[in-house]
Symmetry: C2
Subunit: 175 residues, 2 copies
DNA sequence: TTCGTCATGTAATGGGTTACATGATTAC
DNA sequence: GTAATCATGTAACCCATTACATGACGAA
């Protein structure tokens, strides 16, 4: 998850951790910002696996030394990993978080794959909606009005995401 | 989270783990069902803390022995814990999961508290929306259209939840 | 007799968080 | 000189999950 978001952002341009986190926050939405306690270990892990590397040569170690900031860039292996991520969405690609990660980097995803991901997500949601309605049928009679409201709202939310997906798919088809 | 859901359901009637899980699924929505790997440890934990207890006397150990199922009921301490949960929503009550847990047991929550929780949630969402819009202003220019779509959809979702909350608050005020 | 469901549980793992610790740089 | 922000990192914990293991019961 985090792994792909990092690779995707570093492919646009090499960055150091602190800046990277700000970009991540921009992409993922500010309320679910990644903490440094996740980010830095993730960076070291990616480096250990050879998917990213430190851009070594500090251009000018003259006056402004600052705190040594470690700028990472994506290695060829990392690039390959990222493209394979966008190219074959695994079975988890329809889950909420994965899907968001895919969508965030749709710009670097081929068109047919975009459609496939969007439709996969839609299918998943419709499945989910069926389950929601089914469980709603079973429980609504004996549930208090608040629990009922909560369930109805859940259904509404899924429906509205399906409509949104349909717009995206239509837009994609019309190039 | 799970803790309160368990207490809330057991207050309605004593249950064993397996059945409890089905009810939980009914309340929380079927797609985010609690796994046994979470439920059973949670039950033992609650028991260890004296908030629930096994309803000891098996009525008839005659023919139908079945697999020994362990039925739990809420102790007075557990009842107290639950009422204190519904009565003073902590600062986390406006978070997604907590809020859902509160709403699920609104029926056992006094009216003024209901309004307070709903309004707290609304305030939290409006804050969130301000952050989303703010971050959107900063990044939208240089973001690709897909990332933009994703962010706009995020804003839409929050807006629609605010409208929903407003309906609930209005309904609450008009008794 | 085998399959589905009821029923309880453990161990390993996942994917993060919070709190803490450090220190350098910038702006007032 | 002090506060805010930039910048990196560690350790402890949280709250769940998945995969596994066990076993009894009812129905086909």
């Amino acid at each position: 998850m985090l792994e792909f978001a990092i690779l995707g952002l570093l492919l646009e341009s090499p960055l150091h951790g602190y800046e990277l986190r700000k970009r991540l926050t921009g992409v993922l939405g500010p309320f679910r910002a990644i903490s440094y306690g996740s980010l830095y270990p993730a960076l070291r892990d990616l480096q250990a696996r050879g998917l990213i590397a430190e851009t070594s040569p500090k251009p000018m170690p003259t006056v402004t030394t600052k705190r040594a900031r470690i700028v990472y860039e994506v290695t060829p292996a990392g690039t390959e990993r990222f493209t394979s991520f966008v190219a074959n969405p695994g079975p988890e690609a329809w889950e909420d978080e994965r899907f968001a990660a895919h969508l965030a980097f749709f710009a670097s995803t081929p068109t047919e794959m975009r459609v496939r991901i969007l439709e996969g997500r839609r299918a998943r949601l419709q499945e989910r909606m069926a389950m929601l309605r089914e469980s709603f049928r079973h429980t609504s009679e004996r549930l208090d009005p608040y629990a009922t409201q909560l369930q109805e709202h859940g259904i509404d939310r899924v429906e509205s995401e399906v409509r949104w997906l349909e717009e995206l798919i239509a837009a994609e088809r019309s190039h």
